[in-house]
Amino acid sequence: MIGIFIGIAAVVALISIGQGMQNAINEEFSKAGADRLTIQPAGGFAGAYVSEKLYQSDVDVVNRVKSVDFAVGVIIQTGRVKYKGETEGASIFGIGSDEETRRFIENVDFFLVEEGRQFKSIDNNVAILGSNVAADRFDREILLGEKITVENKEFKVIGIQKKSGSPMHDNMVRITIESAQELFDLEKTEEVSMIFAKVKPGINPSVAAEDVRKALRKDHNVKEGQEDFVVVTAEQMIEGFNNILLVVQVVLVGIAAISLIVGGIGITNTMYTSVVERTREIGIMKSVGAKNGDIISIFLMESAMLGFFGGILGIVIGLSVSKAVEIMAVSAGVNVLKAYFGFELVAGALIFSMVVGTISGALPAKSAARMNPVDALRSVM
């Protein structure tokens, strides 16, 4: 019974967390908009170290593609943020402050400002904070107009972003691309971490993505299949994430399945013990007319009940664990983890645990039914 409830708890917690994560990620990407393309250096993902690089010149190439409405290069780096003597890590996000970029930004939920304002083209040494950075990361809340230090430079906080639910964006410090270049020594190379592009209305994003690929291949002088960059549509991004999640879930559910098997074996053991302890009872029932089938049903019912109670316990514990993980994740600034509580999950887990219980009880029940009544009655147990 211990095994089964651990197993069910694990399954329930994993599905709850996994499903919640998937829901959150899907929501996140739908916020980013379906008409968005992301262009990254090949071989890496969002700021991870890669040898291939993208430059401001690539942004210009993308901007010239017909099916692209607008493209912007951004710098994403991790940096130390200091506020009132306290230092915390955050992702530093450098993005243009020109009119066009601002219009682009205003259409993306992640970049909405709740207090203060967005960048203006004349802005210098100003920062816009993700909601977590402003409210939670430091002992004291950072207020509009206050100063923070990023790496070694002082920035004035001119805006605080609306909470987006995206951990990446809620934990970012947004500065102008010029400041970012200066901060991370990228002025000369004009290197960018990533390019965001908006597809022209009415054009299929994957067609636009192919156009961008063509243009960059031509510019970089590389053949198809040897690109030093990756162009991803929002849809592919969601798919990619979901695939990763699926793999993670499958692996974790596999682990849970093993504990369920162990739990099942536990029930089998319990039932065998029970059969032995009740040998005499079996003999008595047979002597008053119980058929083998009756004995089997009695013991199967019992093991199904064991599974059922193990399942209830497992569901309660599993959901508590996933809720706890969610609370812990939120307090650590990760909002992607939302525990999922669905009726199907609870009902499915209950049925599943009863099935496991029944299957586990099958062999003991059979051995109970096969007992010879005389021997069973003579048993001293």
Partner: protein
């Protein structure tokens, strides 16, 4: 005596138990005819095969050789579910050790055999209460066996043996675990059942108990050595 077809007939029944390498013969060719409504005592020394004989007649076990007819049907070659069916409907057992289920109340013990015959819950209850009444335990219906005296437990067992209105009551040393006075009460009850028309086969090694029966079959070393009416 009227000439009627026997309700039970044993034809050269042998039972050999295998204990590892050795064969232990428990019954060495027993032939016996029992008519409807008889009250028979099977007597003999311990280990002579009395219980083995009872178990064969009661369909708890099958003979190694020979045939047993119950109501004219050969039960020695029946399937397990067929035997279970006979045990449930035609036979009522009363054991020396009472053999009640300790987790069930007196009433539940009495109604249990009806459950295996899929008798309706209300009918079961009504019949169970009736039977407890019959054995004078109506006030103890919700007691567990552990809360009852030995005599009371055996009365519950007798009530249980009657649950499905069997034709035959098999009582294996029904007074073996009881003091003389309580044993006498049980014998009064069995005699009453006999007067009501039940066929009763009782095992005992106590001559005082055996004399209540109308016929005594003496068994020794797995064989019938005498078979006479009182």
């Amino acid at each position: 005596m009227k000439k009627e077809k026997p309700i039970i007939e044993l034809n050269d029944v042998k039972k050999i138990y295998r204990m590892g390498e050795v064969d232990v013969p428990a019954l060495n060719g027993v032939s016996l005819k029992i008519k409807q409504g008889e009250f028979i005592a099977i007597m003999g020394p311990s280990g002579s095969g009395k219980s083995t004989l009872m178990n064969m007649v009661g369909c708890l076990d099958v003979p190694t050789e020979g045939k047993i007819f119950l109501d004219g049907k050969d039960i020695s070659k029946m399937s397990e579910s067929g035997l279970a069916q006979i045990r449930g409907k035609k036979i009522g057992f009363v054991f020396q050790k009472f053999n009640l289920l300790s987790t069930l109340t007196a009433l539940e013990n009495v109604t249990m055999p009806m459950m295996f015959q899929n008798v309706d819950e209300n009918v079961r209850r009504k019949k169970g209460v009736e039977l407890l009444n019959l054995v004078g335990l109506e006030k103890r219906s919700s007691h567990k066996p552990s809360e009852l005296s030995g005599g009371q437990q055996q009365r519950v067992a007798i009530a249980r043996s009657l649950a499905n209105d069997p034709e035959v009551i098999l009582a294996d040393e029904p007074t073996g675990n009881l003091d003389t006075k309580t044993g006498r009460d049980i014998m009064v009850m069995l005699k009453k059942l006999h007067n009501d028309g039940k066929t009763i086969i009782m095992v005992t090694h106590d001559p005082d108990v055996g004399k209540h029966a109308k016929r005594i079959v003496l068994i020794k070393d797995g064989m019938v050595v005498s078979n006479h009416k009182e």
